[in-house]
Point group: C2
Chain length 250, copies 2
């Protein structure tokens, strides 16, 4: 418990991302939230609104990872095909979920609960609902796959509500050390630090801030003391190379 | 020529996207640019800085699509492993590219061309350079795979420069019709329009603007006249349902 790696994949479903019309805002939210409970997001895919493409991606990801989170394609229109695709991926039937119907009925008491909106209650057999506190139409969980809305505000509310169902992994500790030295200047010594701390993942990210080029070094790992020691070495080498270490986002 | 579908995949390489530290800005740029020359982006994947993960994704995507574009992992630090991964995916050796060395030598005339920076000239055998007008260190093309920087300004300059190498597909025509009606209100009639125009892809996207909920309908297809006719039907049905069609982004 908490010692084996717990991994996840995100599946962003939607032609609007692949056409460039919409910039995805869900991946980074889910990634950051998973981080807080020690679940490692190891993969993300963006797939079009095509059943076969979704089925293939869902099956590849649910086999490879502890959890899969999908976003998008659960609304009332003809292009919302995620529930059908998930059912096809698991080889189960679609059925109208009674509890989902009850929630929609309650939400649309003033009228407007037409067949299109009712179709949002059509879910794979065995689905467990995921609450939607924003607009009621629920998401659902089937096996290790969590099916969420694409609208960021709704997706976020759904995700926060389901986090209690997730088994967390070992906490990932992180330190960021930045400096106004170029990547190429620190690369050799940084690689040496990485060799001394194989259990710490050291990432190097160039930036341009206040008209100056610099580099952020991000150190991540399960061993807090190793992360701290490696960060101290990075700070020291920045000083040796004539820079000034700036610690950010501890 | 220009009649068969030309498809593409984007591979975003980098732990920083999967940890939630950085929000990807490259996918939507590439998607929008490909659109302008009739190339359909059908898939995107985000993979971590791990050789096996990159190799698997590159090989899956280069097999399935006309073109693959990778972003990230071509800098001078130890975590920049994209070139090695591409070489492994193609089963070719890495060699120091003489032209890339010449460009780096010219760029770092004032000094600073150390071994780490020179390593940015290490590319798979057979690689064709992609110009980097921003910071000189080139990207490269191997077969149908184009390897680009992760820093958006550099990636964009590289991409714009390589577009002349791409074979365009049939132009994709697009119309967007928006209205202040909810998705569930128009869903049934919209599905009927979609059935009448199977060659037009109709996407429905809810929005919240000026404190009102609405829906944007995006119609896309190769047949300009069919797209225009379907858009006219969508505008008409919005009127019938008591809304007002707002044409945007023609």
């Amino acid at each position: 418990m908490g010692d084996q790696p717990v991994t996840a994949a995100v599946l962003v479903i939607g032609n609007e991302i692949l056409s460039g019309r919409t910039v995805d805002a869900n991946l980074s939210y889910i990634a950051a939230r998973l981080n807080t409970i020690g679940i490692r997001l190891l993969e993300a895919r963006v797939v079009p609104d095509r059943i076969e493409a979704i089925v293939a991606a869902v099956n590849a990801c649910r086999e490879a990872h502890t959890y899969v989170f999908t976003t998008g394609g659960i609304g009332p229109t003809h292009d919302d095909i995620t529930a059908r695709a998930i059912a096809a991926a698991f080889g189960v039937a679609i059925e109208r979920n009674a509890e989902a119907v009850a929630r929609l009925t309650s939400h649309y008491q003033g009228g407007g609960l037409n067949e299109a909106r009712l179709s949002m209650a059509d879910m794979p057999k065995g689905a467990v609902l995921i609450d939607n506190p924003v607009s009621q139409a629920p998401g659902f969980q089937l096996g290790n796959v969590f099916v969420l809305a694409g609208v960021p505000a709704i997706m976020q509310a759904m995700f926060d509500g389901l986090m209690g169902r997730l088994r967390g992994g070992a906490t990932i500790h992180s330190r960021t050390v930045s400096c106004y030295l170029a990547e190429g200047t620190i690369a050799a010594e940084l690689a040496a630090v990485q060799r001394r701390f194989p259990e710490v993942e050291i990432g190097s990210y160039p930036f341009f801030r206040a008209r100056r080029f610099g580099t952020s070094l991000v150190l991540r790992g399960e061993d807090e003391s190793a992360v701290a020691k490696a960060a101290a070495e990075v700070r020291a080498l920045i000083g040796v190379l004539g820079g000034e270490p700036l610690e950010l986002e501890p």
